[in-house]
């Protein structure tokens, strides 16, 4: 090899090697997603205050009412709205924001660069995780102040909280990414994603205690992950005797884990088969 060939070969190797890793680009995406998100001050205020306001309202309206077995209605709402918050910061946010970014051409533009596809999802997941933890913390604090919600008292309850949170978050994140392919335009995205999400909250025990939901709607709600997330959270935040209020008469931890895991598998398959970097009409 001549010196020139060696230099060229080394440069070529360096060229391949120095492409930044997916993790490095992914962390840069997290940073840019956070900046863009938290600078939309009105949207941020809305996202974080809506469930808290609802919790305060519902807590005040049903103050002192007891669902049975010494469980206050306020506690039920607090646990339910934390579940709703997990799904809104993941499913609802991703469904709308990815649909919008696809329609506006950002995804297509990113796809035309050497950015690894995984980096985009790392960025979105990072933002979702941070806003979800913040939302959950806000709701727990509001719940403690308004509805006498108690923090989990035992390591066992914290463990349940941990796995319900993680499985629920992963399932709702994947479903949000999959759902982003449904709206046909940025303008329709909010309506297309929010309407089914609001309906789901009514039939999953977020806005209405699950025992008050008619059985046939309960059956529909039981298909989707939100009902199981809320049930898991009730087992974390409510007294043990409240299990008697569940339709099954118990917390059904095994079934919760099973349903959420199934949704994670289904969500992953949906994402892998339906995700598009371009608008439909862009072929």
């Amino acid at each position: 090899m001549t010196a020139h060939q060696v230099t060229t070969a080394m440069a070529r190797v360096a060229g391949e090697a120095s492409l930044p890793s997916a993790w490095r680009v992914g962390l840069a995406r997290v940073g840019i997603e956070l900046r863009a998100f938290f600078r939309e001050k009105q949207a941020v205020a809305f996202v974080f205050s809506l469930p808290a306001v609802l919790l305060i309202l519902l807590g005040s309206i049903f103050r002192g009412q007891v669902a049975g077995h010494g469980v206050s209605v306020g506690e039920l709402f607090a646990a339910g709205l934390i579940g709703g918050g997990i799904m809104s910061t993941s499913f609802q946010y991703l469904g709308i924001s990815i649909a919008t970014e696809r329609d506006q051409g950002l995804l297509k533009r990113l796809r035309g660069t050497p950015m690894p596809g995984a980096a985009y999802f790392i960025g979105k997941t990072g933002l979702v995780l941070i806003s979800m933890v913040a939302e959950t913390a806000i709701l727990i604090v509001v719940g403690m102040l308004v509805d006498h919600l108690r923090l989990p008292a035992t390591p066992g309850r914290w463990w349940t909280f941990g796995w319900v949170f993680v499985l629920g978050a992963v399932a709702c994140t994947l479903l949000g990414i999959a759902a982003s392919s449904v709206p046909r335009s940025a303008r329709s995205a909010t309506a297309v994603i929010t309407l089914p999400f609001v309906v789901l909250q009514f039939i999953s025990g977020v806005y209405v205690p699950f025992t008050l939901v008619p059985p046939w709607l309960r059956d529909i709600g039981s298909i989707f992950p939100l009902k199981w997330i809320c049930q898991g959270l009730r087992s974390v935040f409510l007294p043990a005797r409240a299990a008697a209020l569940e339709p099954a008469g118990s917390w059904e931890h095994g079934r919760i884990a099973l349903v959420l895991t199934a949704w994670i598998a289904a969500g992953l398959v949906l994402c892998l088969t339906t995700f598009r970097w371009q608008r439909r009409r862009d072929g």
Binding site: T7, G15, I32, R35, R39, R111, G112, T113, P114
Partner: protein, 292 residues
């Protein structure tokens, strides 16, 4: 710039396409396009809307699958380009996405895109190059349409591409912005970048392109330097002048001889003398008219 170091001792052909075909359902969008674009040239694809310009370019960029033909862009098939290949091209898509990431500043956006590449250009230098230095700290939603388009270009070139795709880059520009943009393209070219430009502005093609190809009905109907496209350089010229009785006009294949005779007749300056050949627009309209 350091990008030259990483080049394989390259073929001079940067884009090569043979018999490119693309169907949308039953509609043929591209029916057998051949292209051969050389390193360092500015190549313009001209054609009316729906002629197949964007389809062709998006196949070369790796966005669309072709239905037939062979393509090599920087020595690779764009359909399986991969990250190292993407790092060597720059893409400015047809439509500016004005609403996107509006709360980020120009500088943040350009710096962010720079981090995708192994050897990016200096973001501030790129911002300077597209003339957005005064707006570098502004949020993107505060920019005008033309400024957003300049940002699009900045994002397309921040990776230091060897080959730059520009799909109708100046649509909606005012004349001054267009001129500034042309200067930018010329600067890119003198820096060694190969540029593939689509446009439906004929003056733009004439001002920038070393070679143009006219696409109509999914086919290339003429290729050549703008000045000689469609036999323009040798086409019949029209000599016009002002006589005492009114305007005079002669159509001729040898305008120089005609002017010599006129000069003799007037004993020097010929009043109101002009010589015209078909404009690029005349040639272009004839070319695409013949296809319809």
């Amino acid at each position: 710039m350091t990008q030259g170091l990483a080049l394989p001792p390259g073929p001079e052909t940067v884009v090569q396409a043979e018999g490119l075909r693309k169907w949308y359902g039953d509609v043929a969008a591209v029916v057998g396009i051949d292209l051969d674009i050389r390193r360092g040239e500015v190549f313009a694809l001209l054609g009316p809307n729906g002629a197949g310009k964007t389809t062709t370019v998006e196949i070369l960029e790796g966005y669309r699958r072709r239905d037939g033909g062979t393509v090599a862009v920087l020595g690779r098939d764009p359909a399986s380009g991969g990250r190292p290949w993407r790092a060597r091209i720059g893409i400015v898509l047809q439509q500016a996405s004005e609403a996107e990431a509006t709360e980020l500043t120009v500088r943040e956006m350009v710096r962010h895109f720079a981090c995708f590449y192994p050897r990016p250009r200096d973001p501030d230098e790129v911002i300077e190059l597209v003339g957005l230095t005064a707006k570098a700290r502004n949020r993107i939603h505060q920019l005008s349409g033309g400024q957003v388009r300049r940002l699009d270009v900045a994002l397309g070139i921040v990776g230091g591409p060897e080959l730059l795709f520009l799909d109708e880059p100046t649509t909606g520009f005012d004349p001054e912005a267009r001129r500034n943009f042309w200067d930018l393209i010329r600067a890119m070219q003198s820096g060694g970048t190969t540029i593939l430009l689509t446009t439906h502005y004929l003056d733009e093609a004439e001002a920038l392109a070393d070679r143009v190809a006219v696409i109509s009905g999914g086919q290339i109907v003429a290729t050549g330097a703008p000045a000689s496209l469609g036999g323009r350089a040798t086409a019949t010229a029209t000599v016009r002048w002002q006589d005492g009785d009114g305007p005079g006009q002669v159509r001729t294949d040898s305008p120089t001889r005609v002017i010599g005779e006129l000069a003799e007749r007037y004993g020097g300056e010929v009043p109101g003398l002009t010589v015209t050949r078909p404009t690029l627009e005349d040639v272009y309209l004839e070319l695409i008219g013949g296809q319809r």
